[in-house]
């Protein structure tokens, strides 16, 4: 009984997911459910990056989405010239490069500034990336092909799932597990956590806090890049600021819902937010709401979590 109380958050989270699934299946909204989970995996991937950076430095990284947008732009530019696989690698390298640059040029000089200042600074980075995309790429939207073309191998609850979407979900699950293990079990992961709480002590133990910071941003950028590369080709097209406009707020909501310090929480949060948004978009009960009901529902979830349980489902009260 005590163990259940301890992991109360996790129990609630799983209960919510199961509950949502049941409700949607019974209400005949199976498509919304499936689409929601898939969209949610992209949110979850971005949320993983957000939680990673927050766990290690307390920074809300508003540029997380743009790591993905830059990746997709590079993918687009490259995939005409080289095989798709190489283009993907190139795109991910570009995302990581952007992450490292952001860390070096923006985060490091402001290392000791209040976290609010860093929030504004990363928002500035996101704006800069978007403006460069418009500048060099024009404001038009463009389509891009999927990596894995098979569309109809699987079918869940009557909804076709493309191989690509499955890949996205699989990648998310694997990464969430890997990162959780990394932080709990490996020396490097523990060092990163230690550096965020006690930078001086960490330095005294011979670990370079600066190098750790770069590593964290590189990994987060990689996660963002993966989200872009895997999710965008499914959506049909992309435009400047793609991942920030459509994905960042749901990703943040997912991170908050899961708990800003919990990696598994980011995964769960992503799935829940994805389902909520899909329900808002497709369920006829929301037809009267002007504009995008999904956006409104996600906003309500954000407000609800922050007022009722600010540490999220799996986070710890600081």
């Amino acid at each position: 009984m005590d163990r259940i109380r301890e992991h109360r958050g996790a129990v609630v989270a799983v209960a919510i997911v199961v509950g949502l699934v049941l409700v949607l299946v019974l209400a005949g909204e199976k498509e919304a459910l499936v689409i929601g989970v898939i969209a949610g995996s992209a949110y979850g991937l971005l949320a993983l990056g957000l939680v990673l950076i927050y766990k290690s430095s307390g920074v809300f990284n508003f540029a997380q989405g743009e790591f993905g947008t830059i990746a997709i732009y590079v993918l687009y530019l490259l995939h005409f010239r080289v095989p798709y696989g190489f283009a993907v690698v190139g795109a991910l390298i570009a995302a990581v490069a952007m992450g490292v640059l952001t860390e070096r040029l923006v985060v490091r000089p402001l290392f000791h500034a209040p976290r609010v200042t860093l929030l504004v600074a990363t928002a500035g980075v996101a704006l800069f990336a978007t403006s460069v995309e418009i500048w060099f790429g024009e404001a038009t939207a463009r389509p891009i092909d999927r990596a894995l073309p098979t569309l109809d191998r699987f079918s869940v609850l009557g909804v076709q799932i493309s191989d690509q979407r499955l890949l996205l979900l699989a990648v998310l699950a694997v990464l969430a597990a890997l990162l959780a293990l990394f932080f709990n079990k490996t020396n490097l992961g523990l060092a990163i956590l230690g550096a965020s709480q006690e930078p001086t002590a960490t330095e005294l133990m011979g670990i370079s806090v600066r190098r750790l910071s770069t590593l964290v941003w590189a990994i987060a950028a990689l996660l963002g890049g993966l989200a872009g590369v895997l999710a965008i080709p499914e959506g049909g097209g992309f435009a400047p600021g793609a991942l920030t406009v459509a994905f960042l707020i749901p990703a943040f909501t997912a991170a908050v819902l899961g708990g800003m310090t919990s990696l598994p929480g980011a995964f769960l949060g992503g799935v829940i937010v994805g389902i909520v948004e899909a329900v808002g978009t497709s369920a006829s009960v929301f037809d009267g709401i002007p504009g995008s009901a999904g956006t409104l529902l996600v906003f309500i979830v954000l407000l609800a979590v922050l007022t009722v349980r600010p540490q999220g489902l799996l986070g710890r009260r600081s």
């Binding site: 609010v116 504004v120 500035g124 600021g241 707020i249 943040f252 504009g291 954000l302 407000l303 922050l306």
Partner: protein
Amino acid sequence: MTAVADPTQGAADVGDDARQWSGPSPVGWLARGIVWLALAWLVLVFPLGRQAFEVQQYSEAVIFGIIGLSLNVLLGYVGQISLGHQAFVGIGAFAAAYVVSEQSQSFWLGVAVAVAIGGLQALVLGGVSLRITGLYFALVTLAYGLVAERNIFQIEEFTGGGQGQPAPKPEGFSTDWRYYYLCLAFLVIVMWIDWRMMKTKGGRALLALRENPRVAATFGVNVKALTLAAFVISGAFAGLGGALLAFNDTFVSPETWSFNLALIFVIMTVVGGLRSRVGVVIGSAFFALIGYLLDRFPVLQDALNAIPGAPDLSAEIAPLVIGPLLLLLTLTFFPGGIGQQIRPLQGWLAGRRFDLKDRGPKEVQITDVRA
């Protein structure tokens, strides 16, 4: 960190200096007078001879000044970040347009309604800020901006759906030049209200509240009520800015109010210099005019086009590119923004000695932003 000298000693030195310097010489007065006149000419007379389209840009610069001042109340005085300020401004714009076009009421009523709605929205958001602090509140404002864009601005009756709402200029101010002076008058009023507020108990209480709410409470400051009041003031100014923008463009459409604009607002206020009225107005005007200046002075365009492989930097995206760079510069090297840099000049113009070392209060680390 620099060493702290004995302050009582420093005060004595300054006192000596101040006592010895009994005001500007006649030449000093003349110099100051000339600069004042030049500034007055630039703001009041110069636009008269320009084309209508250009004057519209200047009006927009003035209105951006009002918007910057409104955001400065939140960012600079209360210490809360709003990444959804374009929602306040946009809703104000649509409200004014709606009142005039759909309800056939006067411009003045439209402005009043915009101010009231701006204040009301801000009151609600302020209530939220009392429960959700710092970083998370910034997130909420960001999400609110998106809800405004995707839900509120899609309400047919309010915003004409995707079509937008017309907003004809008021009688008596129907030319662009007259409208410019109207906007200027509003800016002066806003600056005056801000000045009086900061010089009296409300403003002092705000500064105390921002830095140290516990101490402010022991001074008798009702922390919650004051925070809400500050939000309302910020929202009211933003609503005013929105209304004025609506009539300046004579049309309001939903696409204008994007996340990018929210960031431009924040950047222009920070670069202008938090808690410096003049700095914020200058910073805001600059951002409003960047695109226009680039068009007007092609030499700047050419300089930017010198970057190899770069296509033309159009007027729309110039602020988006330059903004973040200036922001980073401000945050790392010039935290007080433009306002801090012009302090010596401001002091000189006010009749004091020109003191290059006058940099205002040292920035106190605000550590009570709970994440």
